[in-house]
């Protein structure tokens, strides 16, 4: 059991599977890969309309659309990764039954392909920021370690769900429901300051709260509690360790049950 095998010995397989994910998705579509950018723009327009005209949230000096985009893009990355990797092992059952390789490469390839999508959609965000003339704080580089943390959390959840879905297909239906609940439990469309103080301790148990609040605070320099991010780090790492061990433990029967 080697944590780094997918990135060393099996690196070429991993890159090929990432490429397959990306290339295959937009074949036979007119605008092709541009969907990666069109999707977040459409989402942004819809959410901006609903939440800045119909419901209004106080977002301080920052325009609502920028406030939203800062959280919506990384959230979409998490959501797409988790929902696609949950089905990834089932979809690749023919590979599982024929060829031996570390199985975590399959969910990893999904997460990395979604990461590439995310980086492209980030371009839209950067253009948006330039046009909106919002001042970006000098701590913006902190989004990089935060993104790294989010990837660890995403992989942790993806490994567990992809394996569990091999045993019970109910998982893939449940996942989408849970992702929706998880989104509303995370300050994506609204500011965390709106959460009633009574429930705040419970709310902060969600490791994505620290990560999303972290992105906003890194870019706009708002006040930020160090303890929530420490909690997110601890939860992400512990979940990753548990998931990885369970995945490796179950791996030997994947080919028998798929």
């Amino acid at each position: 059991m080697n944590l780094l095998d997918p990135f060393t010995k099996y690196r070429y397989l991993l890159t090929q599977l990432v490429q397959r994910e990306i290339k295959a998705r937009y074949k036979q579509s007119v605008v092709g890969y541009a969907w990666v950018i069109l999707n977040p723009i459409a989402q942004l327009l819809i959410y901006s309309f609903v939440f800045s005209i119909i419901f209004r949230f106080p977002t301080g000096d920052i325009p609502y659309s920028i406030f939203l985009f800062t959280a919506l893009l990384p959230w979409t990355f998490l959501q797409n990764s988790v929902s696609a990797s949950t089905q990834s092992l089932v979809n690749n059952s023919s590979l599982l039954k024929k060829i031996a390789f570390p199985r975590e490469i399959i969910p990893y390839s999904v997460v990395f392909s979604k990461l590439i999508d995310f980086l492209f959609s980030l371009l839209v965000f950067i253009i948006f920021i330039i046009f909106s003339k919002v001042t970006i704080h000098s701590t913006f580089w902190l989004v990089i370690p935060l993104l790294f943390l989010q990837i660890i959390l995403t992989i942790a959840v993806s490994l567990f769900l992809s394996a569990a879905n091999l045993f019970y297909r109910d998982i893939q239906y449940l996942t989408n429901l849970l992702l929706m609940i998880w989104m509303y439990m995370t300050p994506v469309v609204y500011p965390a300051s709106m959460v009633p103080i009574k429930y705040l301790w419970l709310y902060k148990l969600n490791p994505m709260v620290g990560i999303i609040e972290g992105y906003r605070s890194a870019l706009f320099g708002n006040y930020f509690e160090v303890s929530i991010i420490l909690w997110s780090i601890a939860v992400s790492i512990i979940l990753f360790i548990i998931s990885f061990f369970l995945f490796k433990k179950w791996e030997s029967v994947f080919a028998d049950i798929v």
Partner: protein
């Protein structure tokens, strides 16, 4: 003892043996419906709800380096399970399997093909799945194209290929691996007669040139007789006969008449 992972061992074996099965038992869970109706009563009774079907019961054999061994038997006798165990995609429930050297499966060709990708893109994808790296695939590209005789269609998505064309491409890639152990499962049943002959010729060349070990599952009496030095007759999860192909088919044919 060398390095062992769940009964699957890599070690330098005494004598010439590259594959050794020692009292191997393999069960498969009988796939009943995985619904709450079955799950809940079994949780209450506190035992596993899965029923098992024994595929291999106490199988032992050794295969020496450079041997070409045919595996013969009725459908469901356990032939493919033996190949899966050699490939390491599934683990024995009891007993030990020793495999010395990397294994390249030609089991159900093109397992990793993606129908939306072109033939060219699939060559790299499938090569990576079979354990080749980019340089190795590039250096063999001409051989692959020539053998498959698909140069004209190589930039066409393989969903427009006929089954025979897909199999030709898959076989052409698979034959390029340099693993010392090759597993071949019914692959020659596809393609036209001419291509089948070409495949057999290529395999024959591999057999003669390199001292590679080939495990060959086939229903074709003439292929096994022409190609293999030795054959195993499997019936009901046991090895009935381990002898020359002529001897094995004499018994198998008698036995099929009943």
């Amino acid at each position: 003892m060398g390095e062992c992972v769940r009964g699957h061992c890599l070690k330098t074996m005494q004598n010439n043996s590259v594959i050794s099965f020692q009292n191997v038992v393999k069960h498969f869970p009988v796939q009943t419906e995985r619904t709450a109706k079955e799950l809940i009563p079994s949780l209450i009774r506190g035992k596993s709800w899965a029923k098992y079907h024994t595929i291999l019961s106490n199988v032992s054999f050794d295969i020496n380096q450079g041997e070409t061994v045919g595996i013969v038997g009725k459908n469901g006798a356990g032939k493919s399970t033996i190949l899966k165990l050699i490939a390491g995609v599934t683990q024995p429930n009891e007993g030990k399997i020793l495999v010395n050297g990397s294994v390249s499966p030609l089991i159900e060709l093109g397992a990793g093909f993606h129908h939306e990708l072109t033939g060219y893109e699939n060559i790299f994808l499938n090569g990576a799945i079979l354990g080749l790296n980019k340089e190795e695939i590039e250096s063999k590209l001409d051989l692959i194209l020539e053998f498959s005789d698909l140069q004209e269609f190589i930039h066409t998505p393989i969903k427009h290929y006929s089954t025979g064309m897909t199999m030709r491409l898959a076989f052409s890639v698979a034959i390029q691996t340099e693993s010392p152990i090759l597993l071949i499962d019914e692959v020659l049943a596809v393609g036209d007669v001419e291509f089948q002959k070409k495949c057999l010729k290529a395999l024959d060349k591999i057999k003669k040139e390199a001292k590679r070990t080939i495990i060959f599952v086939s229903h074709s009496e003439s292929d096994v007789k022409n190609f293999c030095d030795r054959a195993l007759l499997i019936n009901d999860g046991k090895i009935l006969v381990d002898s020359t192909p002529e001897e094995v088919f004499k018994i198998y044919n008698d036995f099929s008449k009943d």
